[in-house]
């Protein structure tokens, strides 16, 4: 139906001065289905890269491969390489637990630990790893809650249960929790899809502020969101990477006809 050759954009003017994370011929399977058919993507450091595409294009599977969460699903298989600072995180000598400390994740629906307070949730990554120093925990909690733009709203109620917050606050708590372990890359899987516009705006604000310290990769259904907050945009379709370019190029003058069709809503 959308016949013709799928063009991969050659980003000649792309400034990928430093690449933090890259995939090399990344393939992923789920049972018999080949969900990712060989992805080669470079994620620039300290920038926000958005991954867009219609449902089923493989974008969620892609980021779940980036922190080795995909392999936890039964019947899941991953081939190819994901290179963080020059090291392939799928090589047998690499411990996936360590990978996940350096590449954090925020999920589509906020999932704070229900048995823990706000404070405990924020520092869960440290506490469960055995950190006991109260001063350190206090300072990390404050720092990460501030970075998630949540500190002012909860600083007097840190002992309150983590689930007694609004949806948007819970999601920011999850962001704080992910940031507390000081990752280098933060993966976000449609973090605002369950939130109202005001909550979404707060989170988008925090994402833009965060890129100073972290490399952010965000999967989003919402094209306007991708246009608002990302520096680079990747468009995927049916398990393949169709186009990757600066966001302004993709939204003003996409090189691939497929990308154009998708973002202008002419699919179907």
């Amino acid at each position: 139906m959308l016949g013709g050759t799928l063009k991969i954009s050659k980003h000649k003017n792309l400034d990928l001065s430093s690449v933090k994370l890259a995939t090399k011929d990344l393939k992923a399977q789920f049972g018999k289905a080949q969900v990712l058919k060989g992805i080669n993507l470079n994620f620039p450091e300290n920038k926000v890269t958005a991954i867009m595409g219609p449902s089923g294009c493989g974008k969620t599977t892609l980021i779940r491969c980036l922190n080795r969460i995909h392999e936890l699903t039964p019947n899941a298989k991953v081939e190819g390489e994901v290179i963080l600072d020059g090291v392939n995180i799928y090589s047998p000598q690499v411990d996936p637990v360590v990978v996940r400390r350096r590449i954090g994740m925020v999920f589509q629906k906020a999932n704070p630990f229900p048995t823990m307070s706000i404070f405990d949730n924020a520092v869960a990554g440290l506490k469960l790893a055995g950190v006991r120093d109260k001063e350190k925990l206090d300072s990390v909690a404050e720092k990460s809650l501030r970075m998630a733009f949540l500190w002012d709203e909860v600083k007097d109620d840190l002992k309150k249960s983590g689930v007694n917050l609004s949806g948007g606050q819970q999601q920011r708590l999850c962001i704080a929790r992910a940031l507390a372990v000081e990752p280098e890359v933060v993966l976000m899987d449609e973090p605002c899809s369950a939130l109202d516009p005001l909550a979404t705006a707060k989170i988008e604000e925090s994402i833009v502020a965060l890129k100073k310290e972290f490399t952010i990769i965000i999967v989003t259904h919402n094209m306007q969101q991708a246009a608002r907050i990302s520096d680079f945009t990747a468009f995927m379709y049916l398990g393949q990477l169709i186009e990757f370019d600066t966001t302004s190029e993709v939204f003003e003058n996409p090189k691939s006809e497929l990308t154009e069709k998708y973002i202008t809503g002419k699919f179907g």
Partner: protein
């Protein structure tokens, strides 16, 4: 598949195209009026007023589409460019109005030498050609005629400068004719310029590239 935006885009295109046609008519009438010494200002005036109103309409419609649909890519380029094209069409009519005003004001029936009228007639022909190309390109988004329009524009520019030179040479005195013909030639050159602007916009819509054709 018809998107909600598509209906709005169709309406916008129709408006802009009509503007172009009206402007073309205004320019043709005003030039004929000048060359034949006929009274044309009321027609041209009417058309010009309509176009001013339509420019506002186009702007409002375009803005409305942006607010509603947050268009991107080619849709955004079209909407953005149409606003500029509408302005350029309005300019056509404005210069047409200026030309007809000159006719009325100076009313030079046989005040000018034939060579002047011939010269202006030739120039006007080229300019009307450019206007026609600009209008059809906006509709078709065909960038094939870019070369033609660039060449013609250069020709018009050349004629403009040549005329000024000739005028200084041949007409020793300043009279109604020298002034009116200078102004008319100037307006024709300006119209040609705007036609080129429009072509640049067409290229931008079609390819996303921002070019300068002048």
């Amino acid at each position: 598949m018809q998107r909600l935006l598509d209906k709005g885009l169709e309406e916008l295109t129709t408006l802009v195209y009509k503007m172009g046609k009206d402007a073309e008519k205004a320019v043709a009438i005003s030039i004929r009026g000048f060359l034949e010494g006929k009274e044309a200002s009321s027609n041209v005036h009417e058309l010009s007023e309509i176009l001013v109103g339509t420019t506002v309409e186009v702007e409002e419609k375009a803005f409305g589409l942006i607010v509603k649909y947050q268009p991107v890519a080619s849709d955004l380029r079209i909407i953005n460019s149409y606003m500029k094209v509408a302005y350029d069409f309005e300019r056509y009519s404005r210069y047409a109005w200026d030309i007809s005003f000159i006719s009325t004001r100076f009313n030079g029936q046989s005040a000018c030498n034939k060579w002047i009228y011939d010269y202006i007639s030739k120039m006007a022909e080229k300019v009307l050609q450019m206007i026609a190309i600009s209008i059809s390109s906006v509709k078709s988004l065909d960038t094939e005629l870019v070369k033609k329009i660039t060449r013609t524009e250069q020709g018009v520019d050349k004629m403009y400068l040549e005329f000024l030179g000739k005028l200084v040479e041949q007409a020793g005195i300043t009279n109604e004719c020298t002034i009116s013909s200078t102004l008319v030639v100037r307006y024709l050159e300006r119209i040609a310029d705007h036609a080129t602007h429009i072509m640049e916009d067409v290229v931008y819509i079609a390819t996303g590239e921002k070019v300068t054709l002048r």
